[in-house]
């Protein structure tokens, strides 16, 4: 029971409206964008929790709603011109405060101090005409009443901390003078300058070489250990997930289709889409199998989301559940093991059989 209530937010407990125990709790989050073509349901009922000191990885194809989720937590959808054109509902609890209904000014105060974000493309998050140092100094002084000299010292310390060589010289460099990997480090320095309790990293290593990726993941891990922050890391690379996640959430078409501990999701995956992801991936650690097992077809439209299970047009097992339930009834997340949830109409027997007999042997 206690175990259930910890991970069972999707099942509606604890009751909506009450502050959860978890440090970050997202409940039934919906983010929709009205467009000329129709309503884009980028995120459509998503729930998860992250404890301090833990890392949740969100995986899924491009367009599945990963970035929209992270921007929602940061309160960035409601900014500027974009803000008029978004419909958001649900709850986002951060350290006992609910952010969806909170005043935007309040959310702004939290941003940068209690929660910070690392983006895929560091250039987009940095100002090209200010030195790296000035940008970190600004980020620090927004939340700390210190003079420039102290803030500069802090900036140098942070650059050193993320492994920039000669930080006292580099602090005066401009973003374009840094290589991709160094920019990513500088952005991490900027994100961490106020010791945030929640760090959201959206594809932080996707644009980087494996060698630099390994350096950055190492850095995020070390810093998390040191500061005990909660980390939400968004990626489409299952290798990165296996490396760094405590828990995993698999997204498809704006919803969670599977969620569980990293061991659950890699060793006992329960959803056909998760099987598809695992089968699509060439693996460096295994005998090269003859063929990859791709997921056929294309990712779904988020304007006309397929009826019933959104994955049904691509799912090889859509005909197994009786009747046309997969095409008419949307499967809800169900507990399939302690802290492990999956949204699929397949019976537990069918799932176990397909996984052990058909999928696992081919991976």
């Amino acid at each position: 029971m206690t175990e259930l209530s910890k991970t069972g937010a999707a099942l509606g407990e604890p009751a909506p409206g009450n502050a959860p125990d978890a440090f970050l709790a997202v409940r039934d989050l919906k983010v929709h964008f009205p467009t000329d073509d129709g309503l884009v349901k980028s995120v459509d009922g998503l729930s998860f929790e992250v404890e301090k000191g833990k890392t949740l990885c969100i995986v899924g194809e491009s367009g599945s709603g990963k970035s929209v989720t992270s921007l929602a937590i940061m309160g960035l959808h409601r900014l500027g011109a974009r803000g008029k054109n978004v419909q958001m509902s649900g709850e986002i609890w951060l350290g006992g405060k609910e952010l969806v209904s909170a005043d935007p000014d309040e959310v702004r105060r939290l941003r940068g101090r209690e929660m910070a974000m690392i983006f895929q493309d560091p250039l987009s998050a940095m100002h090209p005409y200010y030195t790296i140092g000035n940008q970190i100094v600004e980020a620090y002084r927004v939340h700390h009443d210190v003079n420039k000299k102290t803030a500069r010292k802090r900036a140098i310390e942070m650059l050193d901390r993320v492994g920039i060589p000669e930080p006292d010289k580099r602090v005066d460099g401009y973003p374009h003078e840094f290589s991709g990997g160094m920019r990513q480090r500088a952005m991490i320095a900027m994100a961490l300058v106020n010791n945030p309790e929640l760090l959201i990293a959206d594809e932080p290593t996707t644009a980087l070489d494996v060698t630099v990726q390994a350096q950055i993941l190492d850095l995020i891990r070390d810093l998390q250990k040191e500061f005990g922050s909660a980390v939400v890391l968004i990626t489409h690379d299952l290798g990165v997930v296996a490396e760094i996640a405590d828990d995993v959430l698999v997204m498809y078409g704006g919803r969670c289709v599977e969620r569980g501990s990293v061991d659950d999701v890699f060793e006992r995956p329960q959803h056909p889409y998760t099987w598809g992801l695992l089968g699509s991936m060439p693996r460096i650690d295994r005998e090269t199998s003859e063929r990859l097992i791709p997921v056929k077809g294309q990712p779904p439209s988020l304007i006309n989301v397929p009826s019933g299970c959104a994955f049904h047009p691509r799912c090889p097992y859509a005909d197994i559940p009786k009747g046309d339930v997969t095409r008419t009834v949307r499967p809800e997340l169900q507990q399939v093991g302690g802290g492990h949830f999956s949204a699929c109409h397949l019976s537990p027997e069918d799932r176990t059989r397909i996984w052990t007999e058909e999928i696992a042997p081919k991976l």
Partner: protein, 453 residues
């Protein structure tokens, strides 16, 4: 012994017995850097700086390396989309290095390129039919049954519907556009297809569709591929042989199995150790990871000697002064390194590590260093003549185990070397104070703190 990817048809011919289709020698592409009103040349980006390899009929040669190491430039030069500034290219025995456009024209049918960006490489104003039939128009070829019929056949071949003929690129997804690019490349039945990051822009599920497609087409049409990619898992899956590039050079060239199971170049080893493995159980093995320090140096003024010496944990004086040649140390495995992994040392007399190497070594786990010394010693013993094997064994292993001048002792997150002079803060991370006299194995377990909280 050297393995091929496919188990069927082509097992009969080992790749190294197949006919050479493309041969590249000393290939160079330098981009001039000009400055001032006179546009005087002040330097050059040495994107490709003297590489040799050959591609054999029916095989897939994979090319890997970090961003900016010259992979795409190499691809564009061997297809003669860019002019080489040095070296030679032979295709089917013919020297095509300096062929004029008219001379290249018939070869354009035989050599095709597929590009990384499925969005940018298709003209948005042309229909799919127009795009895929362009090669016929350009070459003035009239396929049997007419262009339209042939294009529709090609569309079907790559898994698209013939009805897509009159549609425009924006109506297609990334994976479908990549198929269109492949259909166009295959229109004239090329002999060689050079694919530059053909699946990098695609989601994994779609990536797998395209990889399988390219595989099937190779079997069906007997294609030869050069596949450029930075994803080592993808390259391993598709390639028979693999070339590893670093700063405009090939540092190792080997069949897939040797390269992945017993890499000889330290850079190859580091590159492969950095690939995240999708298996949470393997997290414990992470200490095997070799973190490289810093970034790739600039190709405008590459480091002297071995270009990897500024980041290599095995670099000695000879690495700094003398460029190692790409030589075949094992059958089918060519390596450019003075102190290769999994093989006898090529410069055993040179044992003093450079100080940069000591810093780099502090990021390499003991296990990795020990293992590399062990395998090198074992190989050295094996290579030594049978009569003296016993003697050689002890001699060489001593020598090898002595080689890392500084013994590495691991202490928590920042492993350090005994030689205190090398402590210039490789990563700027928290580490024991430099005056700490003796690196102990483990910091005392903070028993009190842990029970407190």
């Amino acid at each position: 012994m050297s393995e091929t990817k496919k188990t069927d048809a082509d097992v009969s011919t080992a790749p190294d017995e197949r006919e050479v289709l493309l041969k590249v020698e000393g290939l160079q592409k330098h981009f001039p850097i000009r400055k001032g009103v006179l546009q005087r040349q002040v330097g050059a980006v040495k994107a490709v700086d003297g590489i040799d390899f050959e591609v054999r009929k029916g095989e897939t040669l994979g090319v890997v390396g970090e961003s900016g190491c010259g992979k795409s430039t190499m691809g564009r030069v061997i297809t003669r989309l860019q002019e080489p500034t040095g070296g030679s290219i032979h295709f089917e025995g013919q020297d095509i290095t300096r062929l004029k456009p008219a001379g290249m024209r018939p070869l354009r049918r035989d050599i095709q390129m597929i590009f990384q960006d499925p969005y940018g490489s298709l003209n948005p104003r042309h229909t799919i039919g127009g795009i895929v039939s362009a090669p016929f128009r350009l070459q003035g070829v009239e396929p049997e049954g007419g262009v339209k019929k042939e294009v529709q056949r090609l569309l079907e071949l790559v898994g698209l519907s013939p009805e897509h003929y009159n549609r425009y690129p924006h109506e297609f997804s990334g994976g479908q556009r990549q198929r269109i690019g492949i259909a166009r490349a295959l229109a004239l039945k090329p002999k060689l297809v050079v694919a530059d990051e053909p699946v990098s822009a695609l989601d994994v599920s779609i990536q797998a569709q395209v990889v399988n497609l390219m595989d099937d087409l190779q079997d069906e049409l007997g294609l030869t591929y050069v596949i450029i990619a930075h994803d080592l898992s993808v390259v391993r899956h598709v390639s028979d042989r693999i070339a590893v590039m670093y700063l405009g050079k090939i540092v190792e060239l080997a069949d897939r199995t040797s390269l992945y199971e017993a890499p000889m170049h330290p850079y190859t080893k580091a590159l492969m150790s950095a690939v995240p493995v999708p298996d949470p159980k393997r997290r414990g093995a992470k200490s095997e990871r070799i973190l490289l320090r810093g970034d790739v140096p600039s190709p405008i003024s590459p480091p002297s000697g071995c270009r990897f010496h500024t980041r290599c944990w095995k670099a000695t004086e000879v690495c700094k002064t003398t460029e190692p040649q790409l030589i075949e140390l094992r059958p089918g495995q060519r390596v450019a390194c003075h102190h290769p992994e999994n093989f006898a040392d090529q410069a055993p007399q040179d044992t003093v590590l450079l100080s940069v190497a000591k810093e780099a070594a502090s990021l390499v786990a003991d296990e990795v260093l020990a293992e590399s010394a062990e395998t090198s010693a074992a190989v050295a013993a094996e290579v030594a003549s049978p009569e003296t094997a016993g003697v050689a064994d002890t001699e060489v292993s001593e020598e090898v185990s002595e080689k890392p001048e500084v013994k590495i002792t691991k202490t928590g997150p920042g492993a350090k070397t005994e030689d205190q002079s090398t402590h210039s803060g490789a990563r700027g991370t928290a580490r024991p104070t430099p005056t700490d006299p003796q690196p102990t194995d483990e910091p005392e377990a903070p028993s009190q703190e842990s029970t407190d909280s």
